[in-house]
Amino acid sequence: MSKVQPSKKFDPAFVIRKSFVSMFIVFTFVAYAIHEQLINPNGSAPANASARPMPNNSEANAPTDLSPTLAPTQYAPGVLLPTSMPTIAPTAVIPTVASGQYKDGQYTGSSANAYYGMVQVKTIIQGGKITDVQFLSWPSDRRTSQRINSQAMPYLTQEAIQAQNAQVDIISGATLTSRAFIQSLQSSLNSAKA
Protein backbone atom coordinates (compact mmCIF):
# COMPACT_ATOMS: atom_id res chain seq x y z
CA MET A 1 0.00 0.00 0.00
CA SER A 2 2.95 2.22 0.49
CA LYS A 3 3.10 3.24 -3.16
CA VAL A 4 4.54 6.46 -4.35
CA GLN A 5 1.27 8.26 -4.70
CA PRO A 6 2.37 11.25 -2.63
CA SER A 7 5.48 11.65 -4.74
CA LYS A 8 3.33 12.27 -7.82
CA LYS A 9 1.25 14.81 -6.02
CA PHE A 10 4.18 16.79 -4.80
CA ASP A 11 6.64 16.23 -7.62
CA PRO A 12 8.14 19.74 -8.21
CA ALA A 13 9.37 18.80 -11.69
CA PHE A 14 5.85 17.82 -12.76
CA VAL A 15 4.41 21.08 -11.46
CA ILE A 16 7.04 23.14 -13.24
CA ARG A 17 6.57 21.21 -16.49
CA LYS A 18 2.82 21.64 -16.27
CA SER A 19 3.23 25.35 -15.62
CA PHE A 20 5.48 25.72 -18.65
CA VAL A 21 2.93 24.01 -20.88
CA SER A 22 0.17 26.26 -19.55
CA MET A 23 2.27 29.36 -20.00
CA PHE A 24 3.18 28.28 -23.52
CA ILE A 25 -0.46 27.86 -24.45
CA VAL A 26 -1.36 31.24 -22.96
CA PHE A 27 1.63 32.88 -24.64
CA THR A 28 0.63 31.35 -27.97
CA PHE A 29 -2.81 32.86 -27.71
CA VAL A 30 -1.46 36.24 -26.71
CA ALA A 31 1.13 36.18 -29.48
CA TYR A 32 -1.55 35.23 -31.98
CA ALA A 33 -3.76 38.07 -30.81
CA ILE A 34 -0.89 40.55 -31.10
CA HIS A 35 0.00 39.17 -34.50
CA GLU A 36 -3.57 39.56 -35.70
CA GLN A 37 -3.67 43.09 -34.37
CA LEU A 38 -0.47 44.01 -36.22
CA ILE A 39 -1.55 42.43 -39.49
CA ASN A 40 -5.04 43.92 -39.42
CA PRO A 41 -5.21 46.65 -36.79
CA ASN A 42 -8.84 47.51 -37.41
CA GLY A 43 -10.00 43.96 -37.59
CA SER A 44 -13.60 43.60 -38.64
CA ALA A 45 -14.62 46.53 -36.50
CA PRO A 46 -17.89 47.97 -37.68
CA ALA A 47 -16.97 51.26 -36.01
CA ASN A 48 -14.42 51.68 -38.73
CA ALA A 49 -17.30 52.61 -40.97
CA SER A 50 -16.89 56.11 -39.60
CA ALA A 51 -13.50 56.35 -41.20
CA ARG A 52 -14.36 54.58 -44.42
CA PRO A 53 -14.98 56.77 -47.43
CA MET A 54 -18.40 56.32 -48.92
CA PRO A 55 -17.99 54.09 -51.97
CA ASN A 56 -20.82 55.69 -53.89
CA ASN A 57 -22.18 58.90 -52.48
CA SER A 58 -24.63 59.68 -55.19
CA GLU A 59 -26.30 56.33 -54.88
CA ALA A 60 -26.16 56.07 -51.11
CA ASN A 61 -27.47 59.58 -50.61
CA ALA A 62 -29.88 60.13 -53.42
CA PRO A 63 -32.73 62.35 -52.20
CA THR A 64 -35.25 59.61 -52.85
CA ASP A 65 -33.41 57.44 -50.36
CA LEU A 66 -34.28 59.72 -47.46
CA SER A 67 -35.67 57.52 -44.81
CA PRO A 68 -38.88 58.72 -43.21
CA THR A 69 -37.94 57.59 -39.75
CA LEU A 70 -34.24 58.27 -39.38
CA ALA A 71 -33.39 60.85 -36.78
CA PRO A 72 -29.90 62.39 -36.90
CA THR A 73 -28.50 60.31 -34.09
CA GLN A 74 -29.60 57.09 -35.72
CA TYR A 75 -27.35 57.55 -38.72
CA ALA A 76 -24.08 55.79 -39.01
CA PRO A 77 -21.41 58.47 -38.85
CA GLY A 78 -19.99 57.51 -42.21
CA VAL A 79 -23.15 58.54 -44.01
CA LEU A 80 -22.34 62.16 -43.36
CA LEU A 81 -18.96 62.09 -44.96
CA PRO A 82 -18.21 62.84 -48.59
CA THR A 83 -15.70 60.65 -50.37
CA SER A 84 -12.87 63.10 -49.88
CA MET A 85 -13.37 63.38 -46.15
CA PRO A 86 -10.39 63.01 -43.89
CA THR A 87 -10.83 60.09 -41.56
CA ILE A 88 -12.53 60.74 -38.27
CA ALA A 89 -9.96 60.06 -35.56
CA PRO A 90 -9.34 56.37 -36.05
CA THR A 91 -7.64 56.14 -32.67
CA ALA A 92 -10.94 56.91 -31.03
CA VAL A 93 -12.68 53.82 -32.27
CA ILE A 94 -10.00 51.11 -32.49
CA PRO A 95 -11.20 48.18 -30.45
CA THR A 96 -9.10 47.24 -27.48
CA VAL A 97 -9.98 43.57 -27.48
CA ALA A 98 -9.47 41.14 -30.32
CA SER A 99 -13.12 40.09 -30.37
CA GLY A 100 -14.06 43.14 -32.52
CA GLN A 101 -16.05 44.87 -29.80
CA TYR A 102 -15.42 48.39 -28.58
CA LYS A 103 -14.42 49.64 -25.22
CA ASP A 104 -17.24 51.45 -23.47
CA GLY A 105 -16.97 55.20 -23.29
CA GLN A 106 -17.43 58.39 -25.25
CA TYR A 107 -15.14 59.12 -28.18
CA THR A 108 -14.84 62.49 -29.82
CA GLY A 109 -13.76 62.45 -33.44
CA SER A 110 -11.45 65.04 -34.90
CA SER A 111 -13.04 68.02 -36.54
CA ALA A 112 -13.33 67.15 -40.20
CA ASN A 113 -13.67 69.55 -43.07
CA ALA A 114 -16.64 68.75 -45.24
CA TYR A 115 -16.77 71.01 -48.26
CA TYR A 116 -19.67 72.89 -46.75
CA GLY A 117 -18.03 73.35 -43.35
CA MET A 118 -16.59 71.60 -40.33
CA VAL A 119 -18.12 68.46 -38.92
CA GLN A 120 -17.33 66.75 -35.64
CA VAL A 121 -19.03 63.75 -34.08
CA LYS A 122 -18.96 62.00 -30.72
CA THR A 123 -19.55 58.26 -30.53
CA ILE A 124 -21.05 56.67 -27.42
CA ILE A 125 -20.13 53.03 -26.81
CA GLN A 126 -22.06 50.94 -24.30
CA GLY A 127 -21.80 47.21 -23.86
CA GLY A 128 -19.26 47.12 -26.66
CA LYS A 129 -21.69 48.55 -29.19
CA ILE A 130 -22.29 51.97 -30.70
CA THR A 131 -25.37 53.30 -28.96
CA ASP A 132 -25.29 56.89 -30.16
CA VAL A 133 -23.49 59.20 -32.53
CA GLN A 134 -23.81 62.86 -31.66
CA PHE A 135 -22.92 65.77 -33.88
CA LEU A 136 -20.81 68.16 -31.84
CA SER A 137 -20.53 70.57 -34.70
CA TRP A 138 -21.77 70.89 -38.18
CA PRO A 139 -21.28 73.70 -40.61
CA SER A 140 -21.78 76.79 -38.48
CA ASP A 141 -21.23 79.35 -41.20
CA ARG A 142 -23.07 77.66 -43.97
CA ARG A 143 -23.90 80.97 -45.59
CA THR A 144 -20.40 81.09 -46.97
CA SER A 145 -21.11 78.15 -49.23
CA GLN A 146 -24.56 78.53 -50.60
CA ARG A 147 -24.04 76.12 -53.40
CA ILE A 148 -26.29 73.24 -54.06
CA ASN A 149 -25.27 70.18 -52.20
CA SER A 150 -25.43 67.26 -54.57
CA GLN A 151 -25.35 64.93 -51.61
CA ALA A 152 -28.43 64.53 -49.49
CA MET A 153 -27.73 65.65 -45.98
CA PRO A 154 -28.53 62.95 -43.51
CA TYR A 155 -30.39 65.20 -41.09
CA LEU A 156 -33.46 65.48 -43.28
CA THR A 157 -36.52 63.61 -42.06
CA GLN A 158 -39.79 62.74 -43.75
CA GLU A 159 -43.42 62.43 -42.79
CA ALA A 160 -46.75 62.10 -44.52
CA ILE A 161 -48.67 65.36 -44.43
CA GLN A 162 -51.73 65.34 -42.20
CA ALA A 163 -54.56 67.84 -41.81
CA GLN A 164 -54.38 69.80 -38.53
CA ASN A 165 -57.33 71.25 -36.69
CA ALA A 166 -55.42 73.81 -34.65
CA GLN A 167 -56.37 77.48 -34.68
CA VAL A 168 -53.71 79.65 -36.23
CA ASP A 169 -53.07 83.38 -36.57
CA ILE A 170 -51.73 83.32 -40.10
CA ILE A 171 -51.60 80.86 -43.01
CA SER A 172 -48.57 80.46 -45.24
CA GLY A 173 -49.12 79.03 -48.68
CA ALA A 174 -48.55 79.62 -52.32
CA THR A 175 -50.78 82.48 -53.37
CA LEU A 176 -53.97 81.34 -55.05
CA THR A 177 -54.54 84.54 -56.95
CA SER A 178 -55.90 85.38 -60.31
CA ARG A 179 -52.52 86.94 -61.00
CA ALA A 180 -50.87 83.56 -60.63
CA PHE A 181 -53.27 82.13 -63.13
CA ILE A 182 -52.53 84.96 -65.55
CA GLN A 183 -48.82 84.51 -65.05
CA SER A 184 -49.08 80.80 -65.70
CA LEU A 185 -51.16 81.40 -68.74
CA GLN A 186 -48.74 84.01 -69.99
CA SER A 187 -45.74 81.75 -69.58
CA SER A 188 -47.49 78.93 -71.35
CA LEU A 189 -48.30 81.28 -74.19
CA ASN A 190 -44.69 82.45 -74.29
CA SER A 191 -43.66 78.83 -74.60
CA ALA A 192 -46.18 78.30 -77.30
CA LYS A 193 -44.65 81.15 -79.25
CA ALA A 194 -41.16 79.74 -79.13
Binding site: P63, T64, L66, P68, P72, Y116, P139, S140, D141, R142, R143, S145, Q146, R147, I148, N149, S150, Q151, A152, M153, Y155, L156, T157, Q158, E159, A160, I161, Q162, A163, Q164, N165, A166, Q167, V168, D169, I170, I171, S172, G173, A174, T175, L176, T177, S178, R179, A180, F181, I182, Q183, S184, L185, S187, S188, N190, S191, A194
Partner: protein, 255 residues
Protein backbone atom coordinates in the same frame (compact mmCIF):
# COMPACT_ATOMS: atom_id res chain seq x y z
CA UNK B 1 -56.26 95.24 -34.56
CA UNK B 2 -56.26 93.51 -37.93
CA UNK B 3 -56.83 94.81 -41.43
CA UNK B 4 -56.75 93.24 -44.89
CA UNK B 5 -56.51 95.00 -48.23
CA UNK B 6 -56.26 93.72 -51.81
CA UNK B 7 -53.00 95.12 -53.22
CA UNK B 8 -50.43 93.86 -55.71
CA UNK B 9 -53.00 91.33 -56.87
CA UNK B 10 -53.16 89.58 -53.51
CA UNK B 11 -54.63 90.01 -50.05
CA UNK B 12 -52.30 91.84 -47.66
CA UNK B 13 -53.02 91.51 -43.95
CA UNK B 14 -51.53 93.48 -41.07
CA UNK B 15 -52.21 92.70 -37.42
CA UNK B 16 -50.82 94.90 -34.67
CA UNK B 17 -51.28 93.67 -31.10
CA UNK B 18 -49.84 96.77 -29.44
CA UNK B 19 -52.78 98.91 -28.23
CA UNK B 20 -51.28 102.13 -29.63
CA UNK B 21 -51.99 101.04 -33.22
CA UNK B 22 -54.14 103.49 -35.15
CA UNK B 23 -55.68 103.65 -38.58
CA UNK B 24 -52.78 105.84 -39.70
CA UNK B 25 -50.31 103.03 -38.99
CA UNK B 26 -52.23 100.55 -41.13
CA UNK B 27 -52.62 103.24 -43.78
CA UNK B 28 -48.87 103.80 -43.89
CA UNK B 29 -48.26 100.09 -44.55
CA UNK B 30 -50.89 99.81 -47.27
CA UNK B 31 -49.68 103.04 -48.87
CA UNK B 32 -46.19 101.61 -49.01
CA UNK B 33 -47.39 98.46 -50.81
CA UNK B 34 -49.31 100.66 -53.21
CA UNK B 35 -46.14 102.61 -54.08
CA UNK B 36 -44.20 99.38 -54.57
CA UNK B 37 -46.92 97.98 -56.81
CA UNK B 38 -47.01 101.16 -58.91
CA UNK B 39 -43.28 100.86 -59.50
CA UNK B 40 -42.74 97.12 -59.89
CA UNK B 41 -45.96 95.72 -61.32
CA UNK B 42 -45.43 94.11 -64.71
CA UNK B 43 -49.22 94.28 -65.18
CA UNK B 44 -49.30 98.09 -65.26
CA UNK B 45 -48.53 99.92 -68.50
CA UNK B 46 -47.10 102.90 -66.64
CA UNK B 47 -44.93 101.17 -64.05
CA UNK B 48 -41.20 101.72 -63.99
CA UNK B 49 -40.53 98.03 -64.63
CA UNK B 50 -42.77 98.16 -67.71
CA UNK B 51 -40.78 101.16 -68.99
CA UNK B 52 -37.60 99.16 -68.50
CA UNK B 53 -39.08 96.12 -70.24
CA UNK B 54 -40.12 98.29 -73.16
CA UNK B 55 -36.66 99.85 -73.33
CA UNK B 56 -38.05 103.30 -72.59
CA UNK B 57 -35.62 103.84 -69.72
CA UNK B 58 -32.30 102.25 -68.85
CA UNK B 59 -31.47 100.79 -65.46
CA UNK B 60 -28.88 103.53 -64.92
CA UNK B 61 -31.65 106.12 -65.07
CA UNK B 62 -34.02 104.08 -62.91
CA UNK B 63 -35.01 104.80 -59.32
CA UNK B 64 -32.87 103.81 -56.36
CA UNK B 65 -35.45 101.16 -55.43
CA UNK B 66 -35.28 99.65 -58.92
CA UNK B 67 -31.50 99.57 -58.92
CA UNK B 68 -31.56 98.06 -55.43
CA UNK B 69 -33.92 95.29 -56.55
CA UNK B 70 -31.77 94.49 -59.59
CA UNK B 71 -28.68 94.33 -57.39
CA UNK B 72 -30.43 92.10 -54.83
CA UNK B 73 -31.70 89.83 -57.60
CA UNK B 74 -28.20 89.48 -59.03
CA UNK B 75 -26.77 88.76 -55.58
CA UNK B 76 -29.45 86.14 -54.95
CA UNK B 77 -28.77 84.55 -58.32
CA UNK B 78 -25.12 84.16 -57.38
CA UNK B 79 -25.97 82.83 -53.92
CA UNK B 80 -28.28 80.19 -55.39
CA UNK B 81 -26.02 78.91 -58.14
CA UNK B 82 -28.16 80.55 -60.80
CA UNK B 83 -31.49 79.14 -59.64
CA UNK B 84 -32.88 82.59 -58.93
CA UNK B 85 -33.61 84.46 -62.15
CA UNK B 86 -35.80 87.50 -62.77
CA UNK B 87 -35.42 87.35 -66.55
CA UNK B 88 -37.52 84.81 -68.38
CA UNK B 89 -37.85 84.67 -72.15
CA UNK B 90 -36.40 88.16 -72.36
CA UNK B 91 -39.00 89.56 -69.97
CA UNK B 92 -37.91 91.02 -66.62
CA UNK B 93 -40.22 90.15 -63.73
CA UNK B 94 -38.61 90.97 -60.36
CA UNK B 95 -41.72 90.02 -58.33
CA UNK B 96 -39.84 87.00 -56.93
CA UNK B 97 -37.66 89.34 -54.90
CA UNK B 98 -39.87 92.43 -54.64
CA UNK B 99 -42.52 90.70 -52.55
CA UNK B 100 -40.29 89.61 -49.67
CA UNK B 101 -38.35 92.87 -49.81
CA UNK B 102 -41.57 94.91 -49.63
CA UNK B 103 -42.99 92.90 -46.71
CA UNK B 104 -39.70 93.31 -44.88
CA UNK B 105 -39.67 97.08 -45.47
CA UNK B 106 -43.32 97.39 -44.43
CA UNK B 107 -42.55 95.60 -41.17
CA UNK B 108 -39.55 97.88 -40.58
CA UNK B 109 -41.87 100.82 -41.10
CA UNK B 110 -44.01 99.58 -38.20
CA UNK B 111 -40.93 98.96 -36.09
CA UNK B 112 -39.85 102.55 -36.63
CA UNK B 113 -43.27 103.57 -35.34
CA UNK B 114 -42.47 101.75 -32.12
CA UNK B 115 -44.49 98.56 -32.56
CA UNK B 116 -43.08 95.30 -31.23
CA UNK B 117 -45.95 92.79 -31.56
CA UNK B 118 -47.33 92.52 -35.08
CA UNK B 119 -47.14 90.73 -38.39
CA UNK B 120 -47.35 91.73 -42.04
CA UNK B 121 -48.58 89.06 -44.43
CA UNK B 122 -48.85 89.32 -48.20
CA UNK B 123 -50.09 86.41 -50.27
CA UNK B 124 -49.03 83.81 -47.73
CA UNK B 125 -45.60 85.29 -46.97
CA UNK B 126 -45.13 86.57 -43.44
CA UNK B 127 -42.88 88.82 -41.37
CA UNK B 128 -43.67 88.53 -37.66
CA UNK B 129 -42.44 90.23 -34.51
CA UNK B 130 -43.18 89.59 -30.85
CA UNK B 131 -46.31 87.73 -29.85
CA UNK B 132 -49.96 87.34 -30.82
CA UNK B 133 -53.05 88.67 -29.01
CA UNK B 134 -52.87 85.72 -26.58
CA UNK B 135 -49.26 86.38 -25.61
CA UNK B 136 -48.08 83.34 -27.57
CA UNK B 137 -45.64 83.18 -30.41
CA UNK B 138 -47.42 83.71 -33.72
CA UNK B 139 -49.10 80.48 -34.79
CA UNK B 140 -48.56 79.96 -38.51
CA UNK B 141 -50.34 77.22 -40.42
CA UNK B 142 -48.87 75.73 -43.60
CA UNK B 143 -51.60 75.39 -46.18
CA UNK B 144 -52.31 71.97 -47.66
CA UNK B 145 -51.26 72.35 -51.32
CA UNK B 146 -53.88 69.74 -52.24
CA UNK B 147 -56.70 71.39 -50.31
CA UNK B 148 -56.53 75.15 -49.71
CA UNK B 149 -59.09 74.86 -46.90
CA UNK B 150 -56.75 72.75 -44.79
CA UNK B 151 -53.48 73.28 -42.96
CA UNK B 152 -50.98 70.44 -42.60
CA UNK B 153 -48.52 71.88 -40.09
CA UNK B 154 -48.50 74.54 -37.42
CA UNK B 155 -45.33 76.43 -36.59
CA UNK B 156 -44.74 79.08 -33.96
CA UNK B 157 -42.45 82.04 -34.52
CA UNK B 158 -41.63 85.17 -32.57
CA UNK B 159 -39.36 87.23 -34.80
CA UNK B 160 -38.83 85.92 -38.30
CA UNK B 161 -40.12 85.32 -41.78
CA UNK B 162 -42.13 82.47 -43.28
CA UNK B 163 -42.54 82.09 -47.03
CA UNK B 164 -44.09 79.36 -49.13
CA UNK B 165 -43.30 78.77 -52.77
CA UNK B 166 -45.40 76.41 -54.71
CA UNK B 167 -47.37 75.39 -57.68
CA UNK B 168 -50.92 76.46 -58.06
CA UNK B 169 -54.14 74.60 -58.37
CA UNK B 170 -54.45 75.73 -61.95
CA UNK B 171 -50.93 75.07 -63.07
CA UNK B 172 -47.30 75.45 -62.21
CA UNK B 173 -45.75 78.88 -62.16
CA UNK B 174 -42.19 78.21 -61.13
CA UNK B 175 -39.76 77.01 -63.74
CA UNK B 176 -36.20 75.89 -63.46
CA UNK B 177 -34.30 78.82 -65.02
CA UNK B 178 -31.33 76.58 -65.79
CA UNK B 179 -33.48 74.12 -67.71
CA UNK B 180 -35.08 77.05 -69.53
CA UNK B 181 -31.73 78.37 -70.70
CA UNK B 182 -30.82 74.93 -71.99
CA UNK B 183 -34.01 74.69 -74.00
CA UNK B 184 -35.83 72.28 -71.70
CA UNK B 185 -38.67 74.48 -70.52
CA UNK B 186 -40.10 72.06 -68.03
CA UNK B 187 -42.13 73.27 -65.08
CA UNK B 188 -41.42 71.85 -61.64
CA UNK B 189 -43.87 69.00 -61.11
CA UNK B 190 -42.50 66.52 -58.56
CA UNK B 191 -42.72 68.93 -55.62
CA UNK B 192 -45.73 71.11 -54.90
CA UNK B 193 -44.91 73.28 -51.89
CA UNK B 194 -41.82 74.52 -50.08
CA UNK B 195 -42.16 76.53 -46.87
CA UNK B 196 -39.06 78.29 -45.58
CA UNK B 197 -38.58 79.81 -42.12
CA UNK B 198 -35.87 82.46 -42.02
CA UNK B 199 -34.52 85.28 -39.88
CA UNK B 200 -36.64 87.64 -41.99
CA UNK B 201 -39.14 87.41 -44.84
CA UNK B 202 -36.70 88.80 -47.40
CA UNK B 203 -34.33 85.85 -46.98
CA UNK B 204 -37.11 83.31 -46.48
CA UNK B 205 -38.92 84.39 -49.66
CA UNK B 206 -36.00 84.65 -52.07
CA UNK B 207 -34.45 81.37 -50.96
CA UNK B 208 -37.82 79.60 -51.00
CA UNK B 209 -38.31 80.72 -54.60
CA UNK B 210 -34.83 79.63 -55.68
CA UNK B 211 -34.94 76.35 -53.76
CA UNK B 212 -38.31 75.46 -55.25
CA UNK B 213 -36.82 75.87 -58.72
CA UNK B 214 -34.20 73.29 -57.76
CA UNK B 215 -36.88 70.66 -57.35
CA UNK B 216 -36.32 67.91 -54.82
CA UNK B 217 -32.80 68.97 -53.98
CA UNK B 218 -34.09 72.40 -52.92
CA UNK B 219 -34.66 71.17 -49.38
CA UNK B 220 -30.97 70.24 -49.18
CA UNK B 221 -30.08 73.77 -50.22
CA UNK B 222 -32.27 75.14 -47.42
CA UNK B 223 -30.60 72.72 -45.01
CA UNK B 224 -27.20 73.99 -46.09
CA UNK B 225 -27.97 77.68 -45.58
CA UNK B 226 -27.42 78.90 -42.06
CA UNK B 227 -30.53 80.29 -40.40
CA UNK B 228 -33.06 78.69 -42.74
CA UNK B 229 -35.39 75.76 -42.09
CA UNK B 230 -37.73 74.19 -44.61
CA UNK B 231 -40.79 71.98 -45.07
CA UNK B 232 -41.08 70.47 -48.54
CA UNK B 233 -44.21 68.71 -49.77
CA UNK B 234 -43.94 66.51 -52.83
CA UNK B 235 -46.63 65.52 -55.30
CA UNK B 236 -47.32 62.32 -53.34
CA UNK B 237 -48.11 64.25 -50.15
CA UNK B 238 -44.85 63.31 -48.49
CA UNK B 239 -43.09 66.05 -46.53
CA UNK B 240 -39.34 66.46 -46.03
CA UNK B 241 -38.16 68.50 -43.03
CA UNK B 242 -34.81 70.12 -42.41
CA UNK B 243 -32.96 69.17 -39.23
CA UNK B 244 -33.94 72.27 -37.26
CA UNK B 245 -37.54 72.51 -38.42
CA UNK B 246 -39.00 70.55 -35.53
CA UNK B 247 -38.14 73.22 -32.98
CA UNK B 248 -40.61 75.56 -34.69
CA UNK B 249 -43.45 73.04 -34.75
CA UNK B 250 -46.25 74.24 -32.51
CA UNK B 251 -48.15 71.85 -30.31
CA UNK B 252 -50.56 74.49 -29.06
CA UNK B 253 -53.96 73.19 -30.14
CA UNK B 254 -56.23 76.07 -29.18
CA UNK B 255 -55.86 79.58 -27.92
Amino acid sequence: MLQTRMLMGMPITVEIVDPAASQADFGAVFDYFHVVDARFSTYKDDSEITFINKGMIQLAQASVDMQTIFALAEQTKQQTDGYFEIVRNGFIDPSGIVKGWAIYNAAELLRQRGFTNFYVEAGGDIQAFGHNAHGQRWQVGIRNPFNPLEIVKVIAIAEGGVATSGTYVRGQHIYNPKASSSGMDEPITDIVSLTVIGPNIYDADRFATAAFAMGRTGIEFIEAVDGLEGYLIDSAGQATLTSGFERYVSHVQTH
